[in-house]
């Protein structure tokens, strides 16, 4: 079986079969990170460009480690150091990168659709590490991987996602991914953070956190961005926390074996209290661990999978 996609741009373009293949591959990759010598020669001689036009620590690090554990060479370009600040257009930058023959370009960009725009112009595989408010497919895949690992399945589970759905690419990709895999997704937030027509993506909308969490197998909290206060989405962090913050008491409404997840970085005391973040239900650090394996799997598959592994 082969992975049929040149790029990984969003969850929408993946089939259930594709997602299972990625998750299966990632599970196999996980063991490599536990070896004393954490490196396999699979992508030796391949060049991976990490083209990050937005601040990022963990995602970039995760992609970088994933690449290096597969023996690929990585080069990082970030917003401050790139010619974008000198007025070069995104397409010109992409074409220049292309001229140096990279095999994979990982891109994070503040504009929705930027990864797709680049993918149409370059021969290299493009992996979307987050484009605007649109998609963050590797995050959704590592979340699905974590859920499948802990629960043994995704189908039939109740997934609650709470936070700024309107401005979250993680939420969009997770709604599409979990729904596609047969889970029921319910989102909740103040109405200012629920985008118009979100039900059309396949999720339900709950007006309060309690009904959203009720009977949930997974509770996923999204980061509340402090700068959003300027766009008048909520009055204060204090009030947000009172209405939509996750604490031990609220978590009681969920199933007894509920998983608590967060894509990070967390605002402790705002969307999530420390008692939950550090509690027995929290699998937030497992997400980070799985992120490396998942990204190794993505590199391996878009680079040609079995063929190049020979």
């Amino acid at each position: 079986m082969r992975f049929e996609h040149k790029d990984l741009l969003d969850i929408e373009s993946l089939s259930v079969k594709d997602i299972n293949m990625i998750l299966d591959t990632a599970e196999g990759m996980k063991e490599i990170s536990n070896r004393p010598i954490k490196k396999v020669p699979t992508l030796r001689g391949k060049t991976i460009v990490l083209f990050f036009q937005e601040p990022s620590t963990r995602t970039k690090l995760s992609f970088d480690i994933a690449a290096k554990r597969l023996s690929a060479d990585t080069i990082s370009i970030s917003s401050g150091s790139s010619s974008i600040v000198k007025g070069e257009t995104l397409i010109d930058t992409a074409k220049n990168l292309e001229s140096m023959n990279p095999d994979i370009i990982v891109i994070r960009h503040p504009s929705s659709g930027a990864a797709e725009l680049i993918s149409r112009r370059v021969k290299a595989s493009v992996v979307n590490a987050g484009d605007g408010l649109h998609a963050h497919p590797t995050q959704a895949l590592l979340d699905m991987m974590t859920v499948r690992e802990k629960k043994g399945r995704i189908e039939g589970l109740n997934i609650a996602i709470i936070g700024d759905i309107a401005h979250s690419r993680v939420a969009r990709s997770n709604i599409e991914g979990f729904t596609k895999m047969g889970a029921t997704v319910t989102v909740s937030a103040p109405p200012t953070m629920i985008p118009k027509g979100v039900e059309k993506l396949g999720c339900k909308v709950a007006s309060d956190i309690e009904s959203c969490i009720e009977n949930a197998d997974v509770v996923m909290m999204l980061r509340i961005q402090k700068e959003r206060q300027e766009s008048i989405l909520f009055p204060t962090e204090r009030e947000y926390s009172m209405l939509f913050g996750l604490n031990t008491n609220r978590l009681k409404g969920a199933k007894r074996d509920v998983l608590v997840m967060h894509p990070g970085p967390m605002n402790r005391g705002v969307e999530i209290n420390s008692d939950v973040a550090d509690g027995e239900h929290s699998f937030i650090l497992e997400q980070v661990t799985n992120g490396v394996a998942l990204r190794m799997a993505v590199f391996y598959l878009v680079a040609g999978g079995i063929k190049s592994a020979d």
Partner: protein
């Protein structure tokens, strides 16, 4: 020298709809006559072949020793020249996108005999010197020898002298200096230089008090006020219609209310002041309802929409197509149907293009960074004809909306009648064609309609009795 347009159906809504010949002399319509009408020189048509020449491949023939040129347009429909109340010609300031020359040639190709360029040039058309520059540049082009006709197949007959460059230009001036929304421009001085209306298109007046004063002052000068209705705060950061498609794509939305609230405000101000208000590019249901209501109240309000609003919805953006990004944005199917209903019941008076040329520099970029706007002059008639073919508008209605109403809003009588300027659009109703941006005379190619198959095409555009455009075959 005279021209006789022969054989066409002459359609001037509420005036003529019959097979007539139009005789043009000195740039004006001399007479509209029955096909068998004979003027003196015509009596010689067959008798003296040495004074009559005919080129079998061309519609042209000469009579009376070249003093009369007949143009055979059998099978075509001749209508009063189309007028576009809303275009952007980008000169002065953005000549890399469009110039007055390329814009007016594109307009002539689209069947327009006059267009009204908006003032958001650089510098802004907020004083009489810019207005005068635009008018004189257009006159110079109109009187020049060249033509948008790319190859005059054979010119044994000397019909070259029939051709002119371009269509007419009626500039729209700014409401406020520098489009800053603060102080009024010298409307009277600009009117003397040729300005026909005022608008802060693209950067709408946010302050209701300023808008009120502008309307009052313009009323005293008999100038219509064209309003681009948008609440900038509500629309902030938005790049497409707020709705399911935007949610899916992760693009920030522009709600219908950012348009309709200002439509309602400006209708209230027109009621207060008695000014003539023209609502630009209506895109959504709530605006159509507000205008319908205003008209019922007797407010002097007219409105336009553009072909993209009754042809496309926000689904056209599904793959981040920046050529489907404009302001106001493409809305939903419900809005599209409301706009069509507004055209049908007369709430929306006119069809304009909002022709907004942009180069690849502004369009071949990330969606949220791309400029708003599409070109429209060369596709407007073909797209609008679809409404006729679908039985939504009669051909009469369409010509009203693309020619007669725009003229009356500007205070022009463009009836096809003796004494009026010979501004005539000749349409081949049965021609099928496909939109190919490579054939555009506009400098820019930013259209979402590439590959659209359309029926109904401009055959010839006559401006002041000269041919500003002629289809090649």
């Amino acid at each position: 020298m005279k021209i006789r347009l022969k054989g066409a159906r002459v359609l001037d809504p509420k005036n003529i709809d019959d097979f007539k010949d139009i005789i043009i002399s000195d740039g004006k319509i001399e007479a509209i006559v029955d096909p068998d009408y004979k003027t003196d020189p015509y009596t010689q048509v067959s008798e003296s072949p040495e004074s009559n020449m005919r080129d079998t491949k061309s519609p042209f023939s000469t009579h009376d020793g070249n003093n009369i040129i007949e143009i055979d347009i059998t099978g075509m429909v001749a209508v009063p020249g189309l007028i576009d109340l809303h275009v952007h010609l980008r000169e002065p300031g953005y000549e890399y996108k469009e110039t007055i020359e390329t814009g007016l040639k594109a307009a002539a190709k689209g069947g327009f005999t006059a267009v009204c360029p908006m003032p958001n040039t650089s510098p802004v058309n907020d004083n009489s010197s810019i207005t005068a520059f635009m008018v004189s540049r257009a006159k110079e082009l109109q009187n020049s020898k060249f033509s948008s006709v790319q190859s005059i197949s054979s010119d044994k007959l000397g019909v070259e002298r029939l051709y002119s460059g371009v269509c007419k230009l009626f500039p729209v001036g700014a409401i406020t200096k520098g489009l800053q929304g603060e102080s009024l421009c010298e409307y009277s001085d600009m009117k003397k230089a040729g300005m026909v209306a005022i608008s802060d298109d693209g950067r709408p007046v946010q302050n209701a008090r300023v808008m009120r004063r502008a309307m009052e002052y313009a009323k005293g000068l008999g100038l219509p006020v064209i309003s681009h209705c948008e609440d900038i705060d509500l629309a902030r950061d938005g790049a497409m219609n707020e709705g399911v498609v935007a949610t899916k794509l992760g693009i920030k939305g522009i709600p219908n209310a950012s348009e309709s609230t200002i439509v309602m405000r400006d209708i209230a101000l027109a009621e207060l002041t008695g000014a003539s208000l023209h609502i630009a590019h209506v895109s959504c249901e709530e605006s159509v309802d507000a205008i319908r209501n205003g008209k019922q109240r007797g407010v002097k309000v007219t409105a336009e929409t553009a072909p993209h609003y009754f042809t496309l919805t926000d689904e056209a953006i599904s793959r981040y197509d920046t050529n489907a990004k404009m302001n106001p944005p493409l809305r939903t199917e419900r809005d599209r149907q409301a706009v069509i209903a507004g055209l049908v019941d007369g709430t929306i008076d006119t069809i304009a293009t909002d022709h907004a040329p942009h180069s690849l520099l502004e369009k071949d970029v990330e969606f949220d960074r791309a400029a708003f706007g599409i070109v429209g002059l060369e596709t407007s008639l073909g797209l609008s004809m679809k409404l006729v073919q679908d039985g939504r508008l009669s051909l009469d209605n369409l010509i009203e909306k693309m020619s007669k109403r725009p003229a009356s809003i500007l205070g022009i009588n463009n009836d096809l009648k003796a004494g009026n300027p010979a501004d005539i659009t000749i349409i081949d109703l049965d021609a099928f064609w496909s939109v190919n941006p490579k054939t555009f005379l506009s400098k820019s190619r930013n259209t979402p309609f590439t590959g659209f198959s359309l029926k109904g095409e401009v055959y010839m555009t006559i401006v002041d009795g000269k041919i500003a455009y002629q289809r090649e075959s």
